[in-house]
């Protein structure tokens, strides 16, 4: 029954490659989070304060990002846009699909955050002589970030996990790298077992760091 010999040596040999690929994963996830936060904030504000086509567009973005598989979005950015002549490198495909996805999910989080802040805050800030921009950046948005801190942390974890889909468009991040390596040695299980451990560690580090950061940021 159990006549399979595990070969860990090739995996251990390419461990540096895997760790380097892990950095690529982190980089893509972090970049897509930054882009996602900026666009997500904009989408949430547009959906709350604007009317007409701009609002429809923002709503369409959010609903599409939330109601279709991330893999579909990735294929769309990869193959779909390729059909109309927009060719991108795997890195850009994954980054744009992930940012699209993150922005949609974050927009809903931000909307909840904005709604949790009473209107009086904005009016108070305005009557203190702040401009709209100032009252948002100095009064409202800092409070929103406090409210959405935990959803935001979860979203970072999701971004790391979702970036694994990159392996299906030939992107050599933490999932694509072992796939490429495993196809050479055919030690698929061993490679992906180690990869899973690396993902787990990355996620735990992110969660731990966010907890430490929360303790530091949110003491009153």
């Amino acid at each position: 029954m159990f006549d399979y010999n595990f070969h860990w040596r090739p995996v251990m040999k390419s461990l540096p490659d895997l760790l380097e690929a892990g950095l690529v994963t982190l980089q893509v996830a972090a970049l897509s989070m930054i882009i996602g936060v900026v666009i997500g904030l904009a989408l949430a504000l547009i959906r709350m304060h604007m009317r007409g086509p701009v609002k429809w567009l923002a709503s369409a973005w959010v609903e599409l990002a939330r109601n279709t598989p991330a893999l579909f979005q990735l294929f769309f950015f990869g193959f779909g846009l390729g059909a109309v002549g927009i060719h991108m490198s795997p890195y850009v495909i994954v980054l744009s699909a992930l940012s699209f996805n993150c922005a949609g999910y974050l927009a809903e989080n931000f909307r909840g955050g904005f709604q949790a802040i009473p209107d009086t805050q904005l009016r108070a800030a305005r009557s203190l002589g702040m401009t709209v921009w100032q009252s948002y950046t100095r009064v409202i948005i800092p409070q929103v970030f406090r409210i959405v801190y935990h959803p935001l942390t979860n979203q970072i974890v999701w971004a790391v996990l979702k970036s694994s889909l990159g392996m299906l468009v030939g992107f050599r991040e933490l999932s694509g790298e072992p796939q490429a390596l495993a196809s050479r040695t055919y030690r698929i299980f061993e490679y992906f077992a180690v990869t899973a451990v690396i993902y787990y560690v990355i996620v735990k580090i992110i969660l731990g760091a966010s907890r430490l950061l929360a303790a530091r940021l949110f003491r009153y």
């Binding site: 029954m1 159990f2 399979y4 609903e63 599409l64 939330r66 109601n67 279709t68 598989p69 991330a70 893999l71 579909f72 294929f75 769309f76 193959f79 779909g80 390729g82 059909a83 109309v84 002549g85 974890v157 996990l161 979702k162 694994s164 889909l165 392996m167 299906l168 999932s175 698929i188 299980f189 992906f192 077992a193 990869t195 899973a196 993902y199 787990y200 996620v203 735990k204």
Partner: protein
Amino acid sequence: MEPTVSFFSGFQPSDLCFLAEAAWRTLLISVLSISIGTVLGVVFGWMIYEGKWPADLTLGAVLDVFRSVPLIIQLVLFYNFAPIIGLNLDPFLSGVVVLSVYCASLVANVARGGMEAVGLPMRRAARSLGLSYWQDLRFVVLPIGGRAVFPSWVGVALGVMKDSALVSVLGYIELLKASQILITRTQEPLLILTLAGAFYFALSYPISRYAATLEKRWAT
């Protein structure tokens, strides 16, 4: 490069049937995995809730692994691990197993949250009215806690439905894999991807909207 994309050449009506059949397979694997995963997840959630910290450190930690490793890695790992221990599962069964466990790990969290949402005084009141432990679970915890977390459960279920697209990496021909096959043949990624995306959207959007209205109604 041709400046115009002709949408309808090469795509035949019979391909629609192929897509519809694949959509049916997506539904099948989703419903099956969500059902099994929900039952398992509620049991796990109850065990973690009742087992206090020892259960959280063992079962909780194991379930946490499934939430911290990308689903695609879990699929590849399981698909390659099963033959090692002498199980020869086809892609469908492997997909169901992995998706169910993944779903269960997410539902366990939700279920535990639901049980915690029911106040201890309420439980004590139920017990002192003469309800047995199981009656208390059935007639007090299930209606109150279930209602509290129903929207998050819908979110998890829809997430698993969307994630079922990943089973395509094992070769199971669900909707996204079918659309890839068609794209390879017809070279019309935009049309086919739009069809596939529309199916996911048509399934996911009404349900998520319905859950949102329910949440709003129950909140008041």
